[in-house]
């Protein structure tokens, strides 16, 4: 990684044809993923203006809200991918219960409480709450979209950090999907055909984890799918509360 102020020559080392491929790929993915929420919002807003059947009004309003949130999430990820530091609010690090953060993120993803198992010793992280919430959201959103249930969060306390491994049962993924899962704009075949997204979730999660002094990696799961490993700094003195 280049020092601050040093020019990153990795990009300029690419051949023009490669750069053109990357440019096309990024613009195509972004354009495609913005199309559905923007089309839905505009189309439904116009039907509302004309007067829709009152019976479908709740569905229309819910769809408008859902697509506005989806658009916001896509934009959040794009901005975080461009500049992770400036995408976050000014906020001091605090002690966060792993179990509580995981359960809150699972609820935000839309998962039911019984489908999330938190296993291991009660542990905490020291990090910015917004970063950790967003990292867990990205990981669990991925697990919810592509894995089966239950999603298991295995917590392990190490000397100066707390590690969680998040896994869910699922089909064995092609090696390529596992290898590139954490790369920006990579979307496996199952992702492309079954759900929305830019292929930024795990990549942004890794940027945020590194920003908090930790790391995020993925590997093939023994029961299929992928296992995501998140490591973040732990408090100097363990908090004795039961966070499970």
């Amino acid at each position: 990684v280049p020092e601050a102020g040093e020019r990153d020559t990795r990009v300029t080392a690419l051949e023009p044809a490669d750069l053109e491929w990357v440019r096309q790929r990024v613009l195509n993915v972004v354009g495609h993923e913005l199309r559905t929420p923007t089309a839905t919002i505009r189309g439904l807003a116009e039907t509302l203006a004309e007067g829709v059947d009152p019976a479908v009004m709740p569905d229309v309003i819910a769809a408008l809200q859902r697509n506005a949130r989806r658009l916001e999430h896509l934009v959040d990820n794009l901005l975080a991918a461009a500049d992770v530091t400036n995408s976050l609010p000014a906020e001091p690090p605090s002690v966060l219960s792993v179990g509580e953060v995981a359960r809150a993120a699972w609820a935000e993803v839309g998962g039911t409480p019984d489908d999330l198992e938190v296993v291991g010793a009660a542990s905490s992280w020291v990090a910015r709450a917004t970063s950790v919430r967003r990292i867990l959201f990205q990981i669990l959103d991925n697990a919810a979209k592509y894995g089966d249930r239950p999603v298991v969060v295995r917590v392990e306390a190490e000397d100066s950090s707390t590690v969680v491994e998040i896994s869910s049962p699922g089909p064995e993924l092609p090696a390529e999907d596992v290898r590139f899962a954490i790369e920006m704009f990579w979307r496996g075949e199952r992702a492309v055909t079954s759900s929305w997204g830019l292929g930024l979730g795990l990549a942004v999660g890794r940027l945020l984890a590194e920003h908090e002094g930790g790391s995020l990696d993925v590997a093939a799961g023994t029961a299929g799918g992928i296992v995501t490993r998140l490591e973040l700094p732990a408090p100097p003195v363990r908090i004795g509360t039961d966070n499970r």
Binding site: A39, V52, A63
Partner: protein
């Protein structure tokens, strides 16, 4: 927007899209425009099943769907119902999509919040051609 179908009997439309909100948008819009939405399918397999059940005048078919894609569903529906009328409704239409759809005789309409073109495309697609051939 031309909002009146050409006959008193509303044209029957089947929507196939894995994005539930896009299906909702199309259903609400088309019903406002006087069409009868006879079914909403979430993938290509459901589209074929509902085609058999409802025999729609026109299918509005997304191409990228899980399980059975729109590409595959078009082939299956055409194999069973050679005169079926289908419009490909897709977020992106590069050379591959356009060539494949041209080969299948299926018009392509890009997904957009401006649905003014959709009703007209359905009416054109459903219109009988001289000699009774499908409007492909």
């Amino acid at each position: 927007v031309s909002s009146t179908p050409s006959t008193d009997i509303p044209l029957k439309v089947l929507i196939a899209d894995d994005e539930a909100d896009i299906s909702l948008l199309l259903k609400v819009r088309l019903e406002l425009d006087g069409f009868e939405v006879v079914g909403v399918a979430g993938d290509g397999a459901e589209a074929l099943e509902q085609y058999r059940q409802y025999r729609p005048d026109v299918v509005v078919m997304d191409l990228l769907m899980p399980n059975v894609s729109g590409f595959e569903a078009i082939g299956r529906i055409r194999a069973e119902f050679p005169t079926s009328r289908i419009i490909a409704h897709t977020g992106v239409a590069g050379d591959f999509v356009r060539e494949e759809m041209q080969r299948a005789g299926v018009p392509v309409l890009l997904k957009s919040g401006d649905l003014a073109a959709l009703g007209d495309a359905i009416r054109i697609c459903a219109a009988p051609l001289p000699g009774g051939a499908p409007a492909t």
